[in-house]
Amino acid sequence: MSKFLKLIAGTTLASTLISAPAMAEKMGLGRAATPDEIAAWDIDVAPDGTGLPVGSGDVFTGEEVFAEHCAICHGDFAEGVDNWPKLAGGADTLDHEDPLKTVGSYWPYLSTTWDYVNRSMPFGAAQTMSTDDVYAIVAYILYSNDLVDDEFVLSNENFLDVEMPNASGFILDDRETSEAHFWKAEPCMTNCKDSVEITMRAAVLDVTPDEGGTEEAAAPAEEAAAAPASTEAADAAAPVEQAAIDPELMKKGEKVFKKCKACHQVGEGAKSKTGPILNGIVGASVGAVDGFKYSKPMKGLADSGATWTEEELAAFLAKPKKYLKGTKMSFAGLKKEDDIVAVTAYLKSFQN
């Protein structure tokens, strides 16, 4: 234990610690990582290209892949949808009042884009894209930012040749010098300023979320009183539905639904997000959620009077793009039939 105490005592002597030889004693815990394990997890890419795999992709392919996997959130032209990140534009805005920070206007290293797309995107289906597709997407993002022309092919060979506009736009943390005046021997205690006037009020903006706190304070008693009645009502309504639902299947379906959650909500309080709300979807008319902006093909299907029967839903979920060319749903599809059955059972439990 004494060696650990020494460590704590040494926190202010980090420079001494850092040059000290490694501790002699090892605990003998853990096991050696295998090369395959390291290869599977160690995929980060550094600014000098360390970690970049062999591969290539062109702008044209990138546009297609982007449209399929990325555009639903980032827009067809990487301009961003709703509050999702804009990836293009914003050149020369960094010293403006509201800078637009994109890959083109802000990101200092191309490796960051490649690494992030490869490891963390698409949202809800990370690490499912091929190396070449990642190169292609990054090439397309560069093109969207007018940094390369439409003939451009990005590869591990020319990766370091791409110049990022804001590469020299960063300085290291300089607070200890530029803000040295915040270290004050004796801060002012009396008569520190002449007058105090209100210059801005949060109430004027009114962007604070509703809390419902003050109303809630009174609520529990009412809820307690209401609870028995609602339980009875639920019991009366439930048996018909529940008799048909296998709890194991439901549980599995809930798990499968995690793949859908990035875009869809279901259940009490659910709303349409990137994708429409799914309450009552099984057996519902196609394209019938109020206020949701469906793709043209989906609207067409709706106009034809189609219904999401279990069979149709299963076909759609297996291969969305094949079932309905041009659908906004960027999901690749559920490969296992079991998963489709389970998720359908799960969705059925949220019938209106």
Binding site: M27, I38, P99, A126, P187, I198, L205
Partner: protein, 425 residues
């Protein structure tokens, strides 16, 4: 995830819940001649019985506290899966944040990773790349430390002006817990650092197991200093939303570096410059250049009560002003409070002596007679740093920094006890 740090005004009535305190000012101190019925009459709870043991096998707060909860600001992010919410600091006291209401920040949602499925890899410039199971980690000598974890974007919405009306929303991206875990140093030395050569210019890159695989680069000096690989908080397992079963604790440094669901530690020759350390968590100055590697959280404080969500509901007379203070550069040595918008200051009382990189609670007990107040607090730390005013910060950084806003906060407390977030000259 992109956060838009400026809200669009809504038509919602401001402070819907601005219930005047008038109704509750009566009470024990104003009992009628016959006496307070809560005392003179036998109450149900004093006669019947309450819940037996096992009524709740893992307890939640009593129903009367149902408003002490995390809250989010919907317009900030596109989706709750990649978003943040806020600790109800206006309603807490002491310094330890209960896990159940401690703010959450996810980039790809809170995942469920069991201890049995948990693996931690150490690779890169080490003598032997290693894989640890959860059980392996439990066999290393353990330490306990209390540290605050603050998101670099805490108070980020207030750069351009007073915006959100409540300490929870302006300062609630923070929590403070007692962590049990093992020094990162012990794991690095178990793998052996001879292969890394001179450690001065080396880094560790740490990443999480979730789909965002949030990764950050930490200089070796910090990694060998006080970073913890933690698996318990406040005595119990980490919550799912805080990285169960294992998270990194990087004392005093911005919360984004406290990797949750920690799965890999790589010793490298350079910073990886991942998305979260280039495109995000960098601070843009007025001239368009941006500071990077601004890891340390500067000294900061806020009055938590009274505040917009915690108005004064009692009458005139004794009033407890309280708040929180913290610094990533060391311990809090003192907090000054002003009730006149910064003209005059008086030293508040610390609930306990400040400790390294942990929250301190302060109190100022005054006699309040309904006068309007501009409440401010100013933290001082063991490095000699004094929390700056918003004006002082803007002079150096402009309005576009988003992160690291540690300015002095002002609450305008009115004669009726209500408080509002304002900026003053």
């Amino acid at each position: 995830m992109t956060m838009s740090f400026k809200g669009k005004p809504s038509r919602r009535a401001f402070l819907k819940g601005a219930v005047a305190a008038t109704g509750s000012i009566a009470g024990a101190s104003m009992a009628n001649a016959a006496g307070d019925p809560l005392i003179t009459q036998v109450q149900e709870w004093a006669s019947g019985t309450g819940d037996g043991v096992d009524a709740t096998l893992y307890g939640m707060p009593i129903q009367f506290e149902s408003d002490v909860i995390r809250r989010n600001v919907e317009w900030l992010t596109a989706d709750t899966i990649s978003s943040i919410n806020f600790t109800p600091i206006h309603a807490l006291d002491g310094t330890i944040t209960p896990q159940g209401c401690a703010f959450e920040r996810h980039h790809s949602g809170a995942i469920e990773l069991s201890k049995a499925d948990y693996r931690l890899m150490i690779n890169g410039l080490v003598d032997t790349p290693l894989v640890f199971t959860y059980e392996d980690l439990e066999r290393f000598p353990r330490e306990n430390h209390v540290y605050f974890c603050e998101c670099a974007a805490n108070t980020g919405m207030e750069w351009a002006g007073a915006q959100l009306n409540g300490a929870q929303f302006t300062h609630g991206m923070i929590h403070n817990m007692e962590y049990s875990g093992i020094p990162l140093r012990a794991l690095l030395e178990e793998a052996g650092l001879d292969a890394a050569g001179d450690l001065k210019d080396k880094w560790v890159y740490v990443e999480g197991a979730d789909a965002s695989s949030n990764g950050r680069s930490i200089p070796m000096e910090k990694a060998l200093d006080d970073v913890l690989v933690a698996f318990k908080a406040n005595g119990e397992a980490l919550r799912k939303e805080h990285g169960y079963p294992v998270r990194l604790v990087v004392p005093g440094w911005e919360g984004n570096m406290w990797i949750k669901w920690l799965r890999r530690i790589e010793v490298t020759t350079q910073a990886i410059e991942s998305r979260e350390e280039t495109s995000k968590y960098t601070d843009t100055l007025e001239d368009g250049t941006s500071r990077k590697w601004t890891w340390v959280m500067d000294a900061k404080s806020v009055v938590t009560s009274p505040s917009p969500q915690a108005p004064i509901k009692h009458g005139h007379g004794p009033l407890v002003i309280t708040g929180l203070a913290w610094s990533g550069r060391g311990s809090i040595t003192g907090v000054d409070v002003s009730i006149d918008g910064g003209k005059n200051w008086q030293e508040a009382r610390l609930g306990a002596p400040g400790t390294d990189k942990a929250l301190s609670r302060f109190y100022l007990d005054i006699d309040w007679n309904g006068e309007e107040m501009f409440l401010q607090s100013r933290a001082r730390d063991s490095s000699g740093y004094v929390q700056p005013s918003k004006e002082e910060l803007r002079e150096v950084r402009g309005l576009n920094s988003i992160y690291h806003n540690n300015c002095i906060q002002t609450w305008w407390v009115k004669a009726d006890g209500e408080a509002e977030n304002v900026e003053v000259s």
